[in-house]
């Protein structure tokens, strides 16, 4: 599935009597969810399916009178658990969760800038592999725009732990990348 439009049961009844609100939620969170799942190691197809499943679950959750609070962390938690279940059911390691195509970076930069940028990202890639799973997940969720409290809800850890983990992870990356 591609592209960017997924057939979703919008509007989300019970939550968004105003369909614009549901559409806004979908537009806002679709890409961060996809990026999070892909960076966890899912294929693009698996990630698309997972995102669709997450929004369908949200629809059912709200239609059955579920809480309307913390929807962002709720969606990420559903996607996160789905990804982890899939990982266990297929009994595989998400070996190279982050394996970007560096050729696609900095099209508008000069050749020197492109070389420097690629080198920097290569170093960053190596540094990311040295992070713990928890540190990587925290950074991925942070990159998705989630607050520490929301990250804690997704990963089911205290907010203070999230803060410490993010701080530690960023410091590690900065040291390894000599930034």
């Amino acid at each position: 599935m591609s592209g960017d439009s997924l057939p979703l049961p919008l509007p989300l009844s019970g939550f968004a009597t105003d369909s614009c609100e549901a559409t806004t939620l979908y537009r806002e969170l679709r890409k961060p969810l996809l990026r999070y799942l892909v960076c966890l190691g899912l294929s693009a197809d698996e990630a698309q399916d997972m995102v669709q499943d997450a929004f369908l679950s949200l629809h059912r959750h709200l239609a059955s009178g579920g809480s309307q609070e913390n929807i962002r962390s709720w969606l990420f938690r559903v996607a996160h658990n789905g990804a982890r279940n899939r990982q266990q059911s297929y009994d595989r390691r998400f070996g190279k969760p982050l394996d970007p195509d560096l050729d696609s970076i900095s099209d508008e930069a000069t050749p020197e800038q492109v070389v420097l940028e690629k080198e920097k990202l290569r170093r960053l890639g190596k540094a990311i592999l040295l992070l713990t799973e928890s540190e990587r997940e925290c950074l991925l969720l942070r990159a998705g725009g989630l607050r520490y409290r929301e990250i804690g809800e997704v990963l089911e850890i205290p907010t203070s732990t999230v803060g410490e983990t993010v701080e530690r992870a960023i410091r590690k990356l900065a040291e390894k990348c000599n930034v």
Binding site: S2, L34, R35, V38, C39, S43, A44, D45, A47, P97, L98, D99, P100, D101, L102, S104, I105, K120, L121, L124, G125, I128, L139, L140, R142, A143, R147, Y148, G163, V166, E167, I170, R171, L173, A174, C177, V179
Partner: protein, 182 residues
């Protein structure tokens, strides 16, 4: 290392309470070491997001690449079919369902008067079915079907003959005369 270094990322992310954030902000303004760290952390944070975007881009593009040869093959096959196999479906004239098999002679006339009309039809020997009466109500055209058995004795009709019918239609739409030629 500065005492505040452990709170710099949380301050950047606006996760500190207002009072504490104010304290850290004043410190960062005065401490060049912490300012340098904040710059470094911001750079790394941006690079991390770019890295994730590139990873997603790569996987999405790889998925598209898998489909490109398949779609290209399908398109090429469709073009070849069109080029080397010209249209085999001819547009059939809209006609009421008179009979499944072709009648011996079928002549259609409009209600508008036409003096003489020549109709060329290839003769096919086939049993004649009675025309459906409903179509005549729906379409005001005249259709005349003459079974070949009525015109030729059994076995005397040569195959593949062409019958030319001259039809004379009067001004009021009635048929004045019908003359067959061979």
């Amino acid at each position: 290392m500065c005492d505040y270094s452990g709170r710099l990322v949380a301050w950047m992310d606006r996760e500190l309470p207002d009072k504490e954030a104010g304290v850290v902000e004043r410190h960062v303004r005065d401490c060049s070491e912490c300012r340098g760290r904040v710059d470094a952390y911001e750079q790394v944070s941006r690079a991390f997001v770019a890295y994730c975007d590139a990873a997603m881009e790569k996987k999405t593009r790889r998925r598209l690449k898998r489909w490109v040869p398949l779609l290209a093959s399908a398109a090429a096959a469709a073009v070849l079919l069109l080029v080397f196999h010209p249209t085999t479906v001819k547009q059939m004239p809209v006609r009421p369902p008179v009979a499944d098999a072709a009648p011996a002679v079928v002549v259609e006339t409009e209600t508008a008067p036409r003096p003489v009309k020549k109709v060329h039809r290839r003769h096919v020997i086939a049993p004649m079915k009675p025309p459906n009466a409903n179509w005549a109500l729906a379409e005001p055209s005249i259709q005349i079907a003459i079974p070949v058995e009525a015109m030729f004795p059994p076995g005397a009709v040569p195959e593949g003959i062409t019958i030319i019918a001259d039809l004379s239609v009067a001004a009021d739409g009635s048929v004045q005369g019908l003359r067959l030629q061979q």
